[in-house]
Amino acid sequence: MIEKALSGNKQYWGWIALLVTTIAVAAYTYIRYQYQIGLGITGLSRDVTWGFYIAQFTFMVGVAASAVMVVLPYYLHNYKEFGKITILGEFIAVASVIMCMTFIFVDMGQPFRITNVFLYPSPHSLMFWDTVVLFGYLVLNVLISRVTLTAERKGIAPPGWIKPIIILSIPWAFSIHTVTAFLYSGLAARPFWLTAILAPRFLASAFATGPALLILLVLILRKFTKFDAGREPVQKLAIIATYAMAVNVFFVLMEVFTAIYSNIPEHMAHFQYLFVGIEGHATYVGWMWTSVILAVVSLILLFNPKTRRNESILVVACIAVVLSLWIDKGLAMVIAGFVPTVLGHVVDYIPTLPELLISLGIYAMGALLVTVFYKMTLSVRHQLRTEGYK
């Protein structure tokens, strides 16, 4: 089926060329620079030991899990309107999980020892379980998307045995983000993450980000290809994003209340660092308030039926959702866990250019995967419409 991705117009190839170039720059930076010198080329330090890579990993686990927001209504509630876009959601999941694994790979000090995770399985480590659930999720989604697309191509119903696997993928999606939250929330050393609401909050932000991204993708496809998912699924996704975003903001406020009202210095300090700065260290204050403003704007635009139903305004709302939550999860959440440090020092972490280039390359790789997958799907569907079933 991959041959379907090898034909396209100039625009298509221009986009592919852009992505491949970005990936090549990132690969070069990684191999010739980070791999030669070590993780010292990043902004990470003894005090802030995880940063941009792990934050992107966390953010993308959310995007991967969010596929369940189209799979669940379609398969469990028989919501037919999602029929055309379910596979798009599954492809986002596949691409996102591969991106997650790459972000982990580039964050390892000894990347070629990564097989040790399987050679010496350690059930007491959440990282072991995260690896297990992510691999499982990848396998499930590759299998499901391949089987359903092949069936669609042949014009037959998907085989019966795939149904239980699809049903299994639903709780599995929740598990990947829950276990990823447990990586953080089980650490006595880090009060910022030591909160039972972290996993629910991760899920809420994921279920807002994913549908918002999917809306943007569907509208891009409508503009640049012959594929039109229709108005109804977009509106349904918008409703999902609206409530997930509202729940996410609610959860964040819960966290802020508990930390501030309890008045425990260790718990307050991290919020203080993020929103007002400590001792002149205020690297992320501007970002955080941007995130807050974007969240408020997106909620106003999404909750108001008039603005939500206007697709051009909906695009703005979706971009606001994605940006707001990316700042929250892809930037602040991980870094703030380290500042102040366990000894109460306030240190700064700013990702370096190579670190950003490598991350950008991984995003480009994800975009390339999604492009190729979508191209395959749309070609199959186009062929069905013009030539009938084969």
């Binding site: 390892m108 000894q110 040790n116 990282m127 866990g337 366990v342």
Partner: protein, 263 residues
């Protein structure tokens, strides 16, 4: 290796004969003693063992010598700890922090100046319930059951730094770059590390095996560091714990740190 019946009978018969006469026993005994005494070049001191190694740090003694860093130098020279000269890449097994950071949350405005300005030596706490070993996805760090030392395998570590994140004491360092060019004088008797792995204090397990005390304990000019078996009521650490009020870092986290401080 197979011994047939006849050969066996012959050997056992000879043994019986030899045992029968005193001379034979002497011969055997002599052979025995030479075989033990033969390798004279190696060091065969009795290793120091304990059921639970622990340390007591007497800050009143430590304070006596202001700006003293003998323990740090002794440890870092002994273990080929590099000096990058910047806090970002820094690697440290033992170091000093002001009281307010060492005992974060226990300082207050009216604390005596003496305590406020105390530089507290910090190292791996060798917790009885270590959070770092719990999170390691490859068993590259673990608590040695025989004596409680939290160990590191630098050849298995994948450099994910989860242990660094999980340690509430900041006791673990990561090799952000190749450490070797930054070691002033490499001690060939101890391994250097490679970039991309985590390292920390190991209570000098390599010295204990040779019957030597940890380098920091041995080097301390004020004799502020006591090292011994927590499970032995007669040990020096137990005597100190009986006589003094001691505190530990972040005991409320349930890690059961095994470094005790006399303030």
């Amino acid at each position: 290796m197979s011994i047939d019946r006849r050969k066996f009978m012959k050997v056992s018969g000879l043994t019986a004969l030899a045992l029968a006469g005193g001379k034979g026993i002497n011969v055997l005994a002599q052979e025995d003693s030479t075989s033990v005494a033969a390798p004279k070049t190696g060091s065969f001191e009795t290793p120091l063992t304990a059921k639970r190694w622990a340390m007591v740090c007497d800050l009143s003694k430590c304070r006596e010598k202001e700006g003293c860093d003998v323990c740090i130098k002794a440890c870092h020279e002994r273990h080929n700890v590099p000096d990058f000269g910047n806090p970002k890449d820094e690697i440290k097994w033992i170091w000093k922090e002001h009281f307010e950071h060492a005992f974060h949350g226990q300082e207050h405005e009216y604390i005596t100046d003496e305590i406020r300005h105390t530089n507290v030596p910090l190292l791996c706490n060798h917790c009885d319930n270590p959070p770092c070993t719990r999170v390691c996805p490859t068993e590259a760090t673990w608590k040695r059951e025989s004596d409680g030392i939290v160990m590191m395998d630098w050849h298995r570590c994948i450099g994910c730094r989860y242990c660094v994140v999980a340690c509430p004491y900041g006791s673990r360092s990561f090799n952000w770059r190749d450490p070797r060019p930054h070691i002033e004088k490499i001690d060939e008797s101890f391994p250097t590390r490679t970039r991309g792995v985590v390292e920390k204090c190991t209570f000098c397990e390599e010295r204990l095996a040779k019957g030597l005390l940890p380098a920091c304990v041995e080097a301390c000019p004020a004799k502020a560091l006591a090292f011994g078996d927590l499970e032995d009521p007669e040990s020096e650490v137990r005597a100190l714990l009986r006589e003094h009020f001691t505190i530990r870092r972040r005991p409320e986290l349930g890690t059961a740190p095994e470094i005790f401080y006399i303030v």
